[in-house]
């Protein structure tokens, strides 16, 4: 009964936030942010995280409500914008649209590019709205559980976060994901620690006393490294066919409803897993859809169902990623990490206490995401044809223009040139990791969760006077500990299996060459 009361209260607050947002400034920011997000997302090589990295600086001077509206509209727009390039040129605008290429491009070759874009946009809209509904109804429950978390549980949550993020984002070699996650933890150790204000690993740099600033690090890892990696490749592409009709007939959608619901659930679950992100949600949903659908054999040949599986899921990750972010301060995806950094700058501290400190924040996020989804659908359908024209602009022209924006973004937060150099250093680190096939998401998650892990671990030990046994008797902690042990066990098995398969394949190739 109490839960129902909470949910009803939440729904009323979201309604209130929606009505409050219906003013020209916020609507202008939402539609402007959505358009900018879609433009950045449409350009191959620029991701949703990059869109937020480039545009975050515009939100510095805005009041909280406006900044949230703008950034969430950019987020929704950028995740959806990736489908234009995926369908028309077979190169995903963002990694989250990679699975969209498989069915979108064959449809474009048949002259149905416009219909594929329209279907993808409607699927994206459905995915976002579905995930927002789940977020509204699940978050109060997670808050209730999160309030029972002590220091020990918070430490284990941070550890679980980077372990699962490393496992999921590194594909078949979880060891690499964990290494990067712990590197993020190590980077987070720089600066004054939170219990004794003791400066650690600052190497006498005054600028490092406050720790590594999150926004320059994020811009470096996702922005600068992407710029270097994309421009060093010479990839030529051509636009396939004409766009044609964009809005698909409604009757086409009815058979796709079960797939959309399944993909929405997958997207939300993947979104709620720390650091997993839109691309993993999209691929997993496509894979499950292919195996579960009666029309699975048509996937990859221009199936609208395949397109829906990918696009519903990648957008459903958005709402899913907001659940751990708002309730536990653990971002569910790299773009949501960027959003977390932005709201920190505005003095909002997501986490178990958010509902007490900023009771209207969750409804505000939900309302802005809903409006952002409508703006995305409007721009996507209205500008489908001009958006394709943008793809004709060479990346050699667009990408260098991005660098001054990253410089402003890194500088404006702390007003220090040092932060810009730090951004470059993280850019180089990100570039090297990319070249060696190491995932980047665990690095960022480690950087965010590092201080929480460190402080919570030491405070938990302080409370238990150094004894481990009392900590092991706590049920939530025990559950998290078991999950971490399971991740380590299965991760090591997967890494071993991956290398065994790799050596066997190379042996086979050598034999066949002989």
């Amino acid at each position: 009964m109490e839960i129902l009361h909470l949910l009803a209260d939440e729904a009323v607050q979201v309604g209130g936030s929606l009505l409050g947002a219906l003013n020209p400034t916020i609507l202008g920011l939402i539609f402007g942010g959505s358009l900018l997000g879609m433009l950045v997302g449409a350009i191959p090589g620029l991701t949703a995280t990059m869109a937020l990295a480039l545009l975050i600086n515009l939100s510095y001077g805005m009041p909280l409500e406006n900044a949230v509206a703008f950034l969430l509209a950019v987020y929704v727009g950028a995740v959806s914008g990736g489908l234009n390039a995926a369908i028309m040129i077979n190169i995903p605008g963002t990694p989250s649209a990679a699975a969209t290429c498989l069915d979108g491009f064959p449809l474009a070759k048949e002259g149905k590019g416009g219909l594929a874009i329209g279907t993808g946009l409607i699927a994206s809209f459905v995915g976002t709205i579905f995930s927002i509904m789940v977020m509204i109804f699940l978050s109060p429950l997670v808050y209730k559980i999160a309030l029972r978390f002590g220091h020990w549980e918070l430490f284990l949550l941070a550890l679980f976060g980077i372990m699962i993020c490393g496992t999921l984002s590194a594909g078949k070699d979880p060891l690499k994901g964990w290494i990067v996650g712990f590197l993020g933890f190590a980077a987070a150790m720089v600066g004054m620690e939170q219990i004794f204000a003791y400066p650690r690993l600052t190497f006498d740099f005054l600028q490092l006393k406050g720790g590594i600033p999150l926004i320059p690090a994020l811009i470096g890892v996702f922005g600068v490294s992407e710029f270097l990696a994309v421009l060093q490749e010479n990839v030529a592409y051509k636009i396939e066919g004409k766009v044609g009709k964009v809005i698909p007939p409604m009757k086409e959608f009815i058979p796709l409803i079960p797939s959309a619901i399944r993909s929405g659930v997958i997207g939300v679950v993947i979104g709620a897993i720390p650091g997993a992100g839109e691309d993993i949600g999209s691929w997993l949903s496509y894979d499950v859809g292919k195996r579960r659908s009666k029309q699975g054999h048509k996937f990859g040949t221009g199936s609208y169902e395949g397109l829906v599986c990918s696009e519903v899921a990648n957008n459903a990750v958005i709402g899913g990623a907001m659940i751990p972010l708002l309730t536990l301060a653990v971002p569910g995806s790299p773009p949501s990490a960027m959003f977390l950094a932005a709201v920190w700058l505005h003095g909002v501290r997501p986490g178990p206490m958010l509902n007490f400190e900023n009771p209207g924040f969750l409804p505000l996020v939900a309302a802005m995401l809903i409006l952002g989804s409508f703006a995305m659908l409007f721009w996507g359908l209205a500008l489908a044809k001009p958006m394709v024209a943008i793809l004709k602009i060479k990346r050699e022209i667009l990408l260098p223009i991005v660098i001054p924006l990253t410089v402003i973004g890194a500088y404006a937060g702390g007003v220090r040139i040092f932060d810009v150099y730090l951004m470059l250093a993280f850019g180089v680190l990100g570039y090297i990791l990319r070249q060696m096939d190491y995932p980047l998401a665990p690095l960022v998650l480690g950087l965010i969760l590092g201080p929480l892990a460190d402080t919570s671990f030491r405070r938990a030990l302080q409370q238990s006077r150094g004894a481990i046994m009392p900590l092991l008797e706590r049920p939530i902690g025990l559950l998290l500990l078991l999950c971490i042990a399971w991740l380590i066990w299965t991760g090591i098995q997967r890494t071993r299996q991956y290398y065994a398969e790799q050596t066997a394949r190379e042996d086979g190739e050598e034999l066949s060459a002989e």
Partner: protein, 162 residues
């Protein structure tokens, strides 16, 4: 008989050694962080010390896997003079290094010159290097883009600029 070498084992071997060394250095730095005569359990160095140990462990795990796949032999080849020369002269690496150097120069310029002119210079040089378009277009686009960015951020949104 020489051990068979597999792809990526050299890179993994080198990474593993670097990781283990980094872990050792991290642990040593952590041991110096005890303050206020507090016990190790709450000292600021406790968590970094554990992290250092984790890096050593992860490094050893990676090293074991890389060594099984002929990592030592491959690492010797990767770090060989001929291979390093080929790496340094590869067009992909050169392009990334040049673009990075442009960025470093740009940041240095931004710190010392007006943002607008530093940006015009950066875009001009980068476009020319990438052969993005014809020279007159490069001049025009560089100036217009730099002006638009400066105007939008400094004057329109009043963002602090370098």
């Amino acid at each position: 008989m020489a051990q068979k070498v597999y792809k990526g084992s050299g890179a993994d071997f080198i990474t593993a050694v670097c990781l283990a060394l980094f872990g050792a250095a991290f642990s040593i730095a952590a041991l110096r962080m005890r303050v206020f005569n507090n016990s190790l359990l709450v000292s600021p160095g406790l968590f970094p010390l554990i992290l250092g140990a984790v890096f050593i462990l992860l490094g050893l795990l990676l090293l074991r896997s890389a060594a099984k796949r002929g990592g030592w032999a491959q690492a010797s080849h990767v770090l060989g003079r001929e291979n390093l020369h080929a790496f340094a002269t590869s067009p992909r690496v050169r392009k990334a290094v040049v673009l990075l150097l442009f960025m470093v120069a740009y940041v240095a310029a931004v710190a010392n010159f007006p943002f607008l002119w530093a940006t015009v210079g950066y875009l001009l040089v980068t476009f020319i290097y990438l052969k993005a378009m014809k020279l007159h277009w490069i001049l025009l686009v560089s100036f217009l883009a730099a002006y638009a960015i400066t105007f939008a951020f400094r004057d329109l949104f009043r963002i602090p600029m370098p």
